[in-house]
């Protein structure tokens, strides 16, 4: 037989350039194969700590993103009315002059008139530095509408949370419990981890209303009712305490379980030096918790006080937390709850593991081995994007701590620079004055009412009302409230809204149509209520049409970036790591990296920290900043190759630093010594390593906070104690929600609307092959997710007599949409859901106006208001968690009815003119010959 002769060793590429992906927030390492100076193929970088060679669909489709027809081409000045999409291309000189002229006037009179909010920003340590230099208190990134509950609950409870803060010990865990809608953060590492668990037959349990993705491969699925995760978790706590299956040794040594709480005040008993006190079991004496050799007594008796563990027993052993009491509400049979608690206990205690690694704890006690409890948890937005999300996330962290599985072999492990206790974080700063920088970092962690961002008259200092009595612990700000508050002039009016990478006129806002109206609303003089809007984006997103000035950003392969330890790091549990992006291709358009544009603006405005005394620029561009900026002497954005090139963590700036990163594959890794890899908050070897790396200035061991005293301080204020007092209308709420031990309360929507009239919960989740709105412009990815039906359960399908191809009208108390429906059997019976951000506005993203994303794709955002329904008190109550201000996306309740098949989803929006035209009809994408 004659087989053709084929070349099985064709040349793969001329060159491989290694940089960092930005097709989602995961930040994997990629090998960009170049042919003739063009991107020919993208694959994962095997050496990279995040993805270890693998790459998801989004990452592999990067070639379609850097060549997308939706890329903006030049700075734009709006010439038609807002929303029309009519722009004129202008030069960078004109764009920068215009922006600096607007901003300088604000800075010289009242810097708070600028609201600068960045969306999916990966340079927050830089953008916040810029905003601080400018002097506005109004800065945050998108955490407030993303997962601030998870992050903040984690920091207050144990000094870190999931994803960027830590990860399961994938190589050792035997039971992995995944809560909530989590098909994305973090993307590849979870998939790699699941693969490892599957390969050795470990058990995966999914707790999620929707059985898709990771939950589809979970060995057990608990189809929980949305918003009840906290109740389920506290029921597990009930079972474990009742069974006596908690880690007493761990609780006594490493947590505040033995601390003594004053019955009268609810505050922790301390000595005059402010050190918490415990009763030593050996001597019965009252001694500081960290004294050498002390054995804190969990069941101590001290007049007028109870230990935290005693308080927990009194609360969680109440019958209201028994599985039988919560089963109906959670939508999970009591036996399944008991079985899960039993399995957690079985694996944690009967299958405990040990590593023969000696270590020394902060009390000076030497341990000859490391005991591990091989149960690990993970959760993200699914449990946190509720009005009870903070307490739910707290409950989950407390559950992990009770079984002693945090920061031990087989359990949940922190990634450097975490763990970091609250004390290692700044408090919020908000004092602004003309022509001055802000008095400190914007965002931080309040320790009590004294740190709220209030003006002298008690009114909110920030436009988003972060760090106010409405949401005291809003550590990431409330980006979802900025436009609404600015439009309402509540707490005050602003002049310029400056946004980066945030599609606020579409999928990134609640109440999309309302936000569009706010952006285009005119005052009595015929001027826009929000007078000026500057926006930076790389692509022709829906938000572009609503800005007055567009500063076009580059794509991720055309820019410098740093994935910094000062920011949102990419470390591993056993290593510190950071990374860069660098221009592996040059832009073919008149665009500039946004961070470089911020530096150019700072130089024009002569902002402190950016110019010398003589007015000359300190930094030429962002690359220059990455290398030469020092946050503290010797500590800069990148930790590797400092000084003469061989220093890590601390060291003088090194002009060759970026080249060294590029030669190393775009990243740098420093491994933690073996005896420092676990028990990090209490491990002397880790603490010393962390000081050497510059994470702390001195060792700072701490106890996990089962009982969060700062929360009690807000309750006390609400009870009338202290100088700073909340307004009367918030006292009840503060007393109720700022409970220092985790509680569960129903999502606010359950009380605001009639659950009988709106019987269904409505959710979105992000598909693994699409990231927010970005993927739609990608010719390959949009063939996977080009439209999104509303998925309904068997129960709903039968109740309404749906058939394939049917449409439904879905209504909330706020609005209605008409959309296609589809049956999904693996679904909580009272839940409907759809994919997030597939629906697009006609005219955006260089798609044709009849693209399925614009006709059959839809947003649930139209059903969700940024405010709770009016209560008749004249107040605007935000639809957010009352502790952190996290947007309560998943509280949504709806009703559904069958309607005649439609040709397009409702609501309709007029097409916006495209500043970039339309994409081509055919793609035949072969770069090499």
């Amino acid at each position: 037989m004659n087989q053709p002769i084929i070349d099985t060793s064709p040349k793969v590429s001329d060159e491989v350039r290694k940089t960092t992906c930005y097709m989602c927030a995961c930040r994997c390492g990629i090998n960009v194969h170049m042919k003739d100076g063009k991107v020919a193929y993208i694959e994962g970088n095997r050496d990279h700590p995040v993805n270890k060679g693998v790459l998801c669909a989004k990452g592999s489709a990067g070639i379609m993103q850097v060549n997308a027809p939706s890329r903006l081409r030049a700075p734009l000045r709006r010439v038609g009315p807002r929303g029309s999409g009519q722009f004129q291309e202008i030069s960078w000189a004109e764009a920068l002059d215009t922006a600096s002229d607007w901003l300088t006037r604000i800075r010289k009179t009242d810097p708070s008139k600028l609201a600068f909010f960045t969306g999916r920003d990966q340079s927050q340590s830089f953008t916040s530095f810029w905003a601080q230099a400018f002097g506005t208190p109004n800065y945050a990134a998108h955490g407030g509408f993303c997962s601030v509950n998870m992050a903040t609950a984690g920091i207050y409870t144990m000094g870190g949370a999931f994803w960027e803060f830590g990860q399961p010990d994938w190589d050792r865990t035997k039971l992995f419990v995944l809560f909530g809608v989590a098909e994305d953060h973090d993307s590849n590492p979870i998939k790699i981890g699941i693969g490892k668990l599957k390969a050795r037959g470990a058990r995966i349990v999914g707790v999620n209303p929707i059985r898709s993705g990771y939950n589809a491969v979970a060995d057990d699925w608990l189809g929980i009712t949305p918003g009840t995760d906290g109740l389920l978790i506290l029921s597990l706590v009930h079972c474990l305490m009742a069974a006596g299956r908690i880690d007493l040794d761990y609780l006594a040594r490493y947590t505040n379980a033995p601390l003594l709480i004053d019955d009268a005040t609810g505050l922790i008993l301390r000595d005059p030096d402010d050190r918490p006190l415990v009763i030593d079991r050996a001597t019965g004496a009252l001694v500081p918790f960290d004294q050498m050799g002390v054995r804190p007594d969990l069941n101590a008796h001290h007049p007028g006080h109870r230990t935290v563990l005693q308080l927990m027993a009194e609360r969680y052993l109440q019958p209201e937390y028994a599985p039988e009491a919560v089963a109906e509400r959670c939508g999970i049979p009591a036996l399944r709850i008991r079985a899960l608690a039993d399995e957690i206990a079985r694996v944690a205690f009967d299958q405990a593991i040990t590593l023969d690694r000696p270590w020394t704890d902060f009390r000076g006690e030497k341990h000859d081995r490391m005991l591990g409890r091989p149960v690990a948890f993970h959760a993200m937005r699914g449990i946190s994007a509720h009005s009870n999300g903070f307490q739910t996330c707290r409950a989950l962290h407390v559950l992990q701590i009770l079984i002693g599985s945090v920061e031990v072999p087989g359990g949940f492990r922190f990634k450097p620079p975490y763990p970091k206790p609250v004390e290692a974080h700044p408090v919020p700063h908000c004092k602004s004055q003309p022509d001055h920088p802000l008095d400190g970092p914007h965002l931080g962690f309040v320790r009590g009412p004294e740190h709220l961002a209030l003006r002298e008259d008690g009114s909110p200092a920030r436009i988003d009302k972060a760090f106010t009595w409405e949401n005291p612990m809003s550590a990431h700000g409330l980006m979802h409230m900025v436009i609404s508050n600015a439009h309402a002039g509540d707490p005050y009016r602003i002049d310029t809204l400056f946004l980066y990478m945030a599609n606020m006129s579409w999928n990134s806002s609640m109440n999309t149509r309302g936000v569009i109206e706010m952006l285009t609303d005119l005052d009595e003089n015929g001027d826009y209520v929000i007078p000026r809007i500057i926006y930076s984006d790389a692509y022709s997103s829906e938000m572009v049409a609503y800005a007055d000035l567009i500063l076009p950003d580059t794509t991720y392969l055309e820019r410098h970036d740093c994935i910094s330890l000062l920011d949102r790091p990419i470390c591993e549990a056993g290593a510190a790591a950071d990374a860069i992006r660098w221009p592996v291709i040059q832009p073919d358009r008149d665009v500039r990296g946004f961070q470089t544009v911020l530096i150019e603006l700072a130089n024009l405005m002569e902002l402190p920290g950016f110019v010398r005394k003589d007015g000359s620029a300190i930094y030429r561009d962002y690359a220059d900043y990455i290398v030469n900026h020092q946050r503290k002497p010797g500590i800069g954005p990148l930790s590797g190759y400092r000084g003469n090139g061989d220093q890590t963590g601390r060291g003088a700036p090194n002009a060759d630093q970026l080249d060294r990163y590029i030669r190393n594959g775009g990243f740098h890794v420093t491994h933690i010594p073996g005896n420092a890899e676990f028990y990090k908050p209490w491990n002397v070897a880790y603490q010393e390593w962390a000081v050497g790396m510059g994470f702390y200035d001195k060792p700072m061991p701490y106890l996990f906070q089962l009982y969060v005293e700062p929360m009690r301080k807000f309750q006390r204020a609400a009870e009338g104690h202290g100088e700073r007092q909340p307004p009367d209308h918030l006292r009840d709420q503060l007393r109720r929600v700022m409970e220092p031990l985790p509680i569960w309360y129903p999502p606010f929507e359950d009380g605001n609307v009639d659950p009988k009239e709106y019987p269904l919960h409505a959710l979105t989740q992000r598909p693994m092959a699409m990231y927010h709105s970005w993927g739609t412009q990608n010719a390959w990815l949009r063939q996977i997710h080009g439209q999104n039906p509303l998925y309904v359960s068997h129960k709903v399908w039968q109740q309404h007599g749906f058939a394939e191809g049917d449409w439904a009208r879905v209504s909330s108390v706020h609005g209605a949409i008409t959309v296609p429906v589809a049956l999904h059997g693996g679904l909580n019976p009272d839940t409907v859901w759809t994919w997030n951000a597939i629906g697009k506005r006609k005219g955006a993203w260089a798609l044709s106006e009849d693209a399925p994303e614009a006709t059959k794709g839809f947003l649930l955002n139209h059903l969700i208001h940024e405010l709770q329904p009016a209560r008749g008190d004249g107040l605007r109550w935000s639809n957010s968690d009352p502790i952190t201000g996290q947007a309560a996306w998943f509280d949504l309740r709806v009703k559904i009815e069958r309607v005649e098949p439609q040709t397009e989803c409702d609501p309709h929006f007029d097409a916006i003119a495209s500043p970039v035209g339309r994409g081509p009809k055919y793609l035949i994408w072969k770069v090499g010959q």
């Binding site: 037989m1 053709p4 084929i6 099985t8 060793s9 064709p10 793969v12 993208i42 694959e43 994962g44 095997r46 693998v54 790459l55 669909a57 989004k58 592999s60 489709a61 790699i192 693969g195 059985r211 898709s212 993705g213 589809a216 699925w221 305490m241 069974a243 006596g244 007493l248 006594a252 969990l298 069941n299 563990l309 005693q310 027993a313 052993l317 028994a322 079985a339 206990a345 092959a769 010719a779 390959w780 063939q783 996977i784 059997g825 693996g826 798609l847 044709s848 009849d850 693209a851 399925p852 006709t855 339309r918 994409g919 009809k921 055919y922 793609l923 035949i924 994408w925 072969k926 770069v927």
Partner: protein, 245 residues
Amino acid sequence: MTCLPQTTTRKLGLVIDLDTCVGCHACVISCKGWNTENYGAALSDIDAYGAQPAGTFLNRVHSYEVEPANGCATQTVHFPKSCLHCEDAPCVTVCPTGASYKRAEDGIVLVNEDACIGCGLCAWACPYGARELDAVAGVMKKCTLCVDRIYNENLPEEDRVPACVRTCPSGARHFGDLGDPSSAVSQLVESRGGFDLMPELGTKPTNKYLPPRPKDRLQGVASEPAAGPSATGFFAWLDRALEKI
């Protein structure tokens, strides 16, 4: 008509673990990227930014819902599908020009695009729907098992696997010689009960699938509560337990 080789020296193929595949489509896009740039004509996309985008893919992931017989909750199976490189490949024997062929040395089924007239008979004959006619190039496209990667001396040895295998984040895809009982993939098939897709058709696919493991088995409680569901009982237990530490 085109003849199949009597035997092949090796039987290279994929083993796909349906217990582990999370349905992320990484393999789909990695395949699209590599095979657009490499073997034969580019995998084109028509109406790429329009109403009915339709591109050529050599590998697609389908999702199916399964209602378990025991009354437990509905399950979802993610099912990646590409050419199975059958031993008795009907797509080859049906080819009128000899363009479709099965390689004698490794069993890979390929299309010689120079000889392909785009008649589509092979796609019709394939019971798995694993071939797609590229609408722009007018030639039949199919999984090549990355024949231009697995022997490619310009790639590091560890990268000489199909693009879909190299990229799969959960490690659900395995590549090797299924004709060698001692190979890792054959062992995996043996230990996990790997199966042929639609064996009744007699195509003898080389690729194998590993079945999902049984689910939802956490239904009972083994241990008795030591402390009891009350604070008083808990404190008594706590004192006893602390004495033992």
